[in-house]
Symmetry: C2
Subunit: 468 residues, 2 copies
């Protein structure tokens, strides 16, 4: 059986794959830091060469930013095509002095490999390269068609990716996308993430007098932009955590009873959650559980406020302006633009004529939920069971991964979010690491995944039930 050969190869060559990963981890591909421009190119070339060694036809695609590594190994039009996404760029390593070992000198200790990018996303991405390598080397062929899109701008906003997707719809056509850039639900609890919240954001500026005014001379007769802003922004969310913008919930897809039961069955320790966050009590819509509030319900958060005097002590002015940055997490079937329309209307209706209001819109993306009963999802569950020796739980995430919405909107393809990492892996923090067990299990799950997907046959677009 060829899957057994691929699996054996992956097991037997684990140390080689780990050595390869360590080579990639040694390249400080920090996309946010212009001093690492050459390292970015080196990392892209390393990934290209490593993919080529795995038997994938590969090339670098130049962009306005960092190159995208594109690869494909196509077996047959009769078989499904998987589009694997990952990123070779990493977060800055700061604060460097808090690392136990240097961020770009990967070492193995305590059963983990420690380095910036170990889990996010070089290590997780590498499981798929190693799995393809194992198949092509040990079995001579892959059971499915695979395409790889590996970008270098994920940590800085993926600016070049959308253009690349728009310009290459045919090239990238696929039945399903596979992304390993999320986490397991908990230690020993692998997970498939079937839902992500969307996001939209705005900046609200209230302008009053030509310049800061003396609050003694003018207070009470001139509208204070900071008072007005506080009143406007404070009116967005009620004391019960419900967003008070008219029409805001109109398009929100309710949580089904079955899903509620499933989420309620997930292990969740509220006291531990509050301790970890460092707050005395939770907050939010009382009729929903904490997981539901974080995953399945929209939210409104003020991300920043600034006005007037912010130094030490008092300064009695009426500030000339006040600014708030506000973002909204969205769920299906909310439309980011329609949400901002409603928010702008809400604010303008309440804004007194004695000030002017400026409403600046940021780019957003819709929330995504994929069908948990689809054939590909069942395939992924079996693959994870094979790789991790445990059934995955089905979870959603409160954050947004814009590429998932873009895959759906531009390519019409749903994404399997198969996270091998752990929330405790210190991604985006000092001492990032990746458990060798997770590396091994993820690789074996990926080996199994290509086989399981092949059994599904062509499902093109059939699971894309939620195209926005």
């Amino acid at each position: 059986m060829s899957i057994e050969a691929a699996k054996r190869y992956a097991e037997e060559h684990f140390d080689d794959f780990l050595d390869d990963l360590k080579q990639l981890l040694r390249i400080p591909s920090v996309s946010a830091d212009p001093r690492h421009r050459e390292d970015m190119q080196r990392a892209a070339e390393f990934v290209r060469d490593r993919l080529a060694a795995a038997g994938v036809e590969t090339r670098l695609v130049a962009t306005d930013g960092f190159p995208i590594v594109y690869g494909e190994r196509l077996r047959s039009d009769d078989r499904p095509t998987a589009l694997v996404y990952g990123h070779y760029d990493v977060q800055p390593p700061d604060p460097v002095d808090q690392w136990v070992s240097p961020p770009f000198e990967p070492v193995v200790r305590e059963g983990c490999v420690w380095a910036r990018g170990a889990t996010d996303d070089k290590g997780q991405l590498f499981t798929h390269i190693a799995a393809v390598h194992s198949w092509t080397t040990a079995a001579g062929e892959l059971p499915v068609n695979v395409k790889f899109v590996i970008e270098g701008e994920e940590e800085v906003g993926s600016r070049s990716l959308e253009t690349f997707l728009q310009d290459n719809r045919e090239l990238l056509s696929a039945d399903v996308a596979v992304v390993s850039d999320t986490s397991q639900y908990g230690d020993g609890i692998p997970a498939i993430t079937y839902g992500l919240r969307g996001i939209t954001a705005c900046e609200v500026t209230v302008r009053g007098p030509r310049q800061d005014l003396h609050s003694g001379v003018f207070g009470g007769a001139v509208a204070n932009p900071a008072n007005v802003l506080a009143r406007l922004i404070g009116s967005l969310v009620g004391p019960d955590g419900r967003i008070a913008v008219s029409g805001f919930y109109d398009a929100v897809r309710p949580i089904g009873e079955e899903e509620r039961r499933r989420l309620a069955a997930l292990p969740f320790d509220e006291q531990a959650f509050l301790r970890e966050v460092g707050v005395p009590a939770s907050f939010g819509e009382p009729e929903f559980s904490i997981l539901e509030r974080r995953w399945c319900r929209p939210s409104c958060d003020v991300n920043g406020l600034v006005s007037g005097y912010t130094g030490e002590g008092p300064k009695t002015i009426i500030p000339q302006s006040a600014v708030a940055k506000v973002s909204f997490r969205l769920v299906p079937d909310q439309d980011p633009d329609a949400v901002l329309d409603a928010v702008e209307r809400h604010l303008r209706e309440r804004c007194p004529p004695a000030v002017t209001l400026q409403f600046r819109r940021y780019h957003g993306c819709p929330g995504v939920v994929i069908d948990t009963d689809s054939a590909f999802m069942q395939a992924a569950r079996r693959a994870i069971r094979a790789g991790f020796g445990a059934d995955p739980v089905l979870i959603r995430e409160g954050g947004s991964i814009p590429v998932v919405a873009s895959f759906r909107a531009i390519l019409g393809v749903d994404t399997l979010l198969l996270g091998w990492g752990r929330n405790s892996d210190n991604l985006h923090a000092p001492n990032e690491h990746f458990h060798l067990d997770d590396f091994r299990h993820g690789m074996l799950a990926s080996v199994a995944l290509w086989d399981e997907l092949a059994r599904c046959g062509r499902q093109r677009r059939q699971s894309a039930t939620d195209i926005a």
Copy 2:
């Protein structure tokens, strides 16, 4: 008649007094700037010596900050005692490049003397020194007892003054205080300011999670300190400009019908006011005029807001904390501490248990209104008519001059606020100036004032109707 001699002396020696003032204006006594420490000492010594030359027994009183110039010329216990207050420190001259002539090189042009401190307060203060000098030189005596308290920290919060007053109640005992540190109502409209608003201020900090959180992972389940702060602060003032804090208006002294008629009779161009401020409409309690809102009604202004991310573009965090600075202008008979108590109660009642609220209190002072019918007030009106050739209007000011509240609270003495300057004199701005006409008229009004006060006889404490 000795007043005629004093008046003639003042007129004939106008140029000498102007030269003296220019000497004082040449000393850059910027209290806020440590580089001018020696200049502060020089300015204090200059004022001391100039007072001594006017026949006033004078000394410097060391403080924790800059010296206070104390002087007295006591004639007789049977006569009233006037306590003249002023300050020899000035605002920083920045931005220096916007001055037409250098800020500490006084020049006369367009009928004004131009220099930092020309009107605030060296020029105005100097009218009283010159008037005393004219009396003592030309008439051999003053008709009243005078005491001088001239501080060097007015522009930086008068920190040393209150201690000095507390420690020297007997030394400073007086029937009335005289301060020329305000403005006329308009060009050609001299004024006596009989009311000032008080002030109190606080800093409100809402604290949530231990650190900034990812708004995707936690949004909707963790209280956002910036949302909460906006809601709390936005609840302080209603859309009609009325302060929504329970009990806030309980102690507010109503404006009498006669006073409303008097204020309504003052020339006031609302359109010009809005143009000057640069706002499309006025704001505030609809049942009060703009002057009443600014002078006779309390107000609540957010002076500063800061939370989370305030740079360019979006950053989707839940900030760990949010801070607002809020100040209240007060009117008689509001008590600053009681107001802060009510505000703190208002905020705590509305603060959800999922965050913590910190309420920091700043020092305040009550509002002051003095009896416009008192004998000293009548004396001042006659003196201004003599000096300026026009009847003064009676006005209030929306700002706070803490020394006036301190004179009342500590010394039990009311203050005559006799402003010789103009609001257009650019105090606290580049190109500060003082009209030579105002310098001359102020000096002559001061010459007349000592004579008019003497006619009142001893009135000690009789006009202090509003001691808090």
